[in-house]
Assembly symmetry: C2
Amino acid sequence: MSGPMFLGIDGGGSKCKARLANGNGKLLGEGVAGPANVFQDQLQAPRSIVESAQRALASAHLPDTDIKKLVVGAGLAGANIPRVARETEEWDHPFAKFYVGTDIHIACLAAHGAADGAVIVAGTGSVGYSTINEISYGGHGFPFGDKGSGAWLGLEAVKAVLQADDSLAPETALSRASESQLAASGLGIADAMVGASSRDYGALAPLVLECAQRGDPVALEIVREGAAYLSDMAEKLLGTSEGGLCLLGGLGERLQAWMRPEIVARVVPALGQPDEGAVRFAIQCYDG
Amino acid sequence: MSGPMFLGIDGGGSKCKARLANGNGKLLGEGVAGPANVFQDQLQAPRSIVESAQRALASAHLPDTDIKKLVVGAGLAGANIPRVARETEEWDHPFAKFYVGTDIHIACLAAHGAADGAVIVAGTGSVGYSTINEISYGGHGFPFGDKGSGAWLGLEAVKAVLQADDSLAPETALSRASESQLAASGLGIADAMVGASSRDYGALAPLVLECAQRGDPVALEIVREGAAYLSDMAEKLLGTSEGGLCLLGGLGERLQAWMRPEIVARVVPALGQPDEGAVRFAIQCYDG
């Protein structure tokens, strides 16, 4: 093997994906390991990164010891928090080089290939990034950020249903749908949701979207407010450029229906997956 | 000692207060012990209740064994959740009788004496209760309920400040005040608030109110929205009766300035403290 080998890491809250490539980006091997959100778990994340790298080497029939030759570009969930990014960069890693970026940055590099563009990822959380001016929006976390995300939709639904139970807000089909999914009603819903995680709230998002699609006024108001925020974010991300916008994550496509037409007109499909963007990031950093 | 002895328990998230009285409500002794929120800690709460009872007996120079003679009325934080109330009632207690009510119920009994009336407690959380029709509103918990409370004000402020940092919402003096109190800025605020409790959010409420008082438009919008909800709640609580409304808790009085004039016109001072209401509750239940 001549020339450096590049390893792209796509590290998220549920798994870590490694993609081994040569200097032309050609795939040599792949590996998957456990979670690598450096904000949620700074002990687990390095372990997952190394493990996914070892598995990628193994799948390419390369020895474990080659790990010290790898030029690694890692797009990591949680690395948008400045303190966390600093601490991750200071990690005593086993690689030749270790460049730290965010998950949304590598998703954006992959989505638009060599062209400039923006991405919004709306899943359990929501965050936006643009290569046009390397700006990031949102991704602040739950419960104070990530408006328009699944967790946010679920939280707003629980609020509305509890207020409706007090006759302090309109009671609609959203109440019955939430009660049915949570197998609880009235104060029992508060009981069921105490200490719930962003994922627990996100699990309610599909029913909020379904109710909105059927014209439920309370669900519609929630979904419209979330989508308006994402439209505002998209407008900032795209600025005056002509780049495209990719809507990623479990809810990206579904929320498009409520986003502003001038934003929807800019939506393009993603060209590649985040781990490919991570390889590109590694090559860019190494060459730069 | 002839006739039954009554013990009123005011059990909250920080302490449990016991008030020993005879059948006429005459004070015989008092005792204080640790937290007794039956929702937050179902092991600690019974211990605190028994300990406060023992201390009340001791302060009245009565033997420990008299505990089995006591007719207890307990107003407990967390007992508004039906499951929690049921489980608390089934407790194998050492008293002659043990009647379970909510903290807000006994606060209302104390605030209005023999007259009908309503109370809203706005502190870290928010909840309302009326003896007029024995209705309770709010008190659902954080982060999905307790609108207008200290925790809610703080959470809304953090949301607004983070959106302002993204230029997706107006940046005002509230941003600078929050940054200063949290000793953080931008994404550092998200970092500082991750995993924060309702009390942590509530600690930001005074600065939100101060900013609103100085005319900060973002803080004003938050405070007005919270106060409008409490006005709606008050309207429901008072219904068509002529009873008065007591605004209790750390923020009750301060939020009054933003509540609707027709509600403010109904506000009266509280006649007594919750532990006095708990004694009244014990006597009512025993006689009833």
